[in-house]
Symmetry: C2
Subunit: 428 residues, 2 copies
């Protein structure tokens, strides 16, 4: 097979330009490895006049990505625009309808429309590859779908939003508060246009939904991901966690049991000396557990031009080599509709609340927990000059149902200022 593989690239932002650079710089390497030339024939972006630092004059230019997707001289449509509706979706559908394979970095598109798109692709005899959509440069989709295909996967976990991990680790390192570091991230360009995609856990939740689909043979079900962002984490939480030998991470966990498929992307306490606990800054980490493999940990850059383009190129090389596999690892029609498991395995929880200065307040808190069957492992109360005193509680293991029950009881005591901060302690 020496026919070139011809790429049409839609979206010439950081990642798109990164892909262009690699295809040019490594033309010989890519041909040696895949056995055929890998070339770009056409590109698409809104503004053709913008200087992007590389010469794009050799490529046909399409203002409309749908027109790019349909071109006869394109074999693979490389979708790097982003967004789960609009042009990205339309162009992906157009590409599949025109008989093109699709390589995409678009986690939102696949987390939300993945099932429908996988069915469309299979009906057309085409494939969609999306290594770059999850955990940047780490070859996690490939490892899970192919390398670990002999395993019944028992749990997948991941720290997959570099911005959140940057904020959390910088809070601990510098003693600066969440708001200061949020502003720093905004200045550094680390935040999505809608920052809630990052700090609200949505972006990472999209990634988790994709991993869960592959791991458990289920339809991607982003709507069933329990989402909680890092906005309410305070320096005190980080310090208390550190005192107890933990670190706080925005951690995704997917697990399938008789109760259904549990997917959550929430701030958790993890042991400080575990690989997840040691993860600093913008680096991502995915932990895969299976019945034979025990545990594999993959760590690497979760974003950025080079790493994300590296993942896109991995998919492109697969297609150039003729390595073709169903979007979520098995035919879309065979993916299960897993019911959402509302409650995970029992775990200890960390609770921080502000207690009003009323007689018997602490006794009421203790009683509310006790009535829900939640027993206390450790408790600390801090005296403060102002009215509300911080109280910190670590529970023994309990189910999330018991905890919900306890939280209702706590609210009814009318001795708390605001709602407690509740963080699950994830045992690894």
């Amino acid at each position: 097979m020496t026919e070139p593989l011809r790429l049409g690239i839609a979206g010439l932002g950081t990642v798109g330009i990164g892909v262009v650079k690699i295809v040019r710089r490594h033309a010989a390497l890519l041909e040696a490895r895949t056995g055929r030339p890998v070339v770009i024939t056409a590109v698409s972006a809104r503004d053709a006049s913008k200087d992007r630092g590389v010469s794009l004059g050799d490529y046909a230019w399409e203002t409309d990505p749908v027109a790019l997707a349909k071109r006869d001289d394109v074999d693979v449509f490389v979708e790097l625009m982003g967004g789960h509706e609009g042009p990205a979706k339309l162009a992906t559908e157009a590409a599949l309808a025109a008989g093109k394979d699709v390589v995409t970095a678009n986690k939102a598109l696949l987390a939300i429309h993945g099932q429908e798109l996988a069915e469309t692709a299979e009906a057309a005899g085409r494939v969609i590859r999306f290594e770059a959509a999850v955990a940047g440069g780490i070859p996690v989709i490939k490892s899970l779908t192919e390398g670990l295909a002999g395993n019944e996967i028992t749990r997948v976990m991941g720290v997959m939003n570099g911005t959140c991990n940057y904020i959390l680790t910088r809070m601990e390192a510098t003693g600066q508060g969440y708001n200061v570091l949020f502003d720093e991230c905004a200045e550094l360009g680390y935040l999505e246009a809608d920052p809630n995609l990052d700090v609200g856990g949505i972006d990472a939740g999209h990634k988790l939904a994709l991993l869960a689909s592959i791991a458990f043979g289920t339809k991607p079900a982003f709507d069933n991901v329990t989402l909680e962002g890092i906005q309410r984490i305070e320096l005190d939480d980080i310090r208390h966690a550190a005192d107890m030998g933990y670190r706080i991470k925005l951690l995704g966990v997917a697990q399938r049991s008789a109760r259904g498929l549990e997917q959550r992307m929430t701030p958790c306490l993890v042991p400080a000396n575990s690989p997840l606990g040691q993860l600093e800054g913008g680096t991502n980490m995915v932990v895969i557990e299976g019945d034979s493999i025990e545990q594999v940990v993959l760590r690497g850059p979760g974003a950025g031009e080079g790493p994300t383009a590296s993942a896109v190129l991995g998919d492109i090389c697969d297609l150039a080599r003729g390595l073709r596999i169903a979007t979520f690892g098995q035919p879309a029609a065979t993916l299960d509709d897993a019911p959402a498991a509302r409650t995970g395995l029992p775990a200890p929880y960390y609770l921080r609340m502000k207690l009003l200065d009323k007689p018997g307040a602490l006794a009421k808190v203790a009683a509310a927990l006790g009535e829900a069957g939640v027993s206390v492992d450790r408790m600390r109360q801090y005296g403060r000059a102002d009215n509300a005193k911080p109280v910190l509680i670590v529970t023994h293991k309990c189910t999330s149902d018991m905890l919900e029950h306890a939280l209702v009881g706590l609210r009814d005591t009318a001795v708390l200022e605001g709602d407690p901060v509740v963080l699950r302690i994830e045992e690894l």
Copy 2:
């Protein structure tokens, strides 16, 4: 494609039986993922009467693995016997000649005869897959060959012998000496029949040669791996390293430069707070660095029934899915003959020597280093009751040539008892 993929398994030790168990336990899962049944038709081992804990009555039995390899009802020959000559090589050749694909866990066979076997496979239109040969259950061959195919790889490093890492981390944790822990490993069954394969670094060296071939597009060249075992590491070395913020690991490093291909598997000092430094016990870790990916770290179990069988199954699932790739990632005829680079990038070195109680001894040591251009960063001398006093030196960065020169000079001083222990300090 719904025709079953039919396996013939040669070698029914721990890993072979592990593969049998997975194929039976996960028949439905494997068929769902690969789109076709994966079945065992025949097996081979020396002793048919031995109880291996699973029923093998459904499979044809061949005492001769070559006969198994040629059977008409076998599509994939699964070689789990081990050994780089004799039956494993003969049967692999017979399988390829008979038009079978080969899946193997045999690092020695491929490190030594890989080029010849890859050429044979390609001439026959067959493939050899060997994920299980390197770093047990970690999908490192797949990550490097496929997932990171868009990168020029700049360095590959790995801790890939669990027994050595177990001994080194237990020495630090328990304060027991090398010999005690070596004996413990022998009792626990952690050692190869020839323990030098483990503690001499040969087994890990085989793995490094395979990684280097894929990473740099070169013929596997085990003979060019600089090998040094862990037998001379003493508790003092481990303590001194810890004092300076380092840990000692049997670390493989492969790097290509204008000087050629550098491959070494030697005990090194690595920063204690790096992922490699934090690796405990029998776990393996591979670090891959590329021009776009920056750095990816893969960590997991390096041996054992489940993990190794998981890797074998990954390869089998690839073949069942029709994912076929050249043995070392590109056609064997296009692999380079890289000259062996004798010397790596400059690095600091750790030296421990025993100084005889002679006047001016330390001055002679300092002079010998100085004459070779090796400058001293830190030096400690310990007073002891016996004749020879331990001296510990950490050098500034120097080349291995300069260091060799210094070692010759040190020998000529005639003030040392025995040869110095020399460990490279690997910056990560």
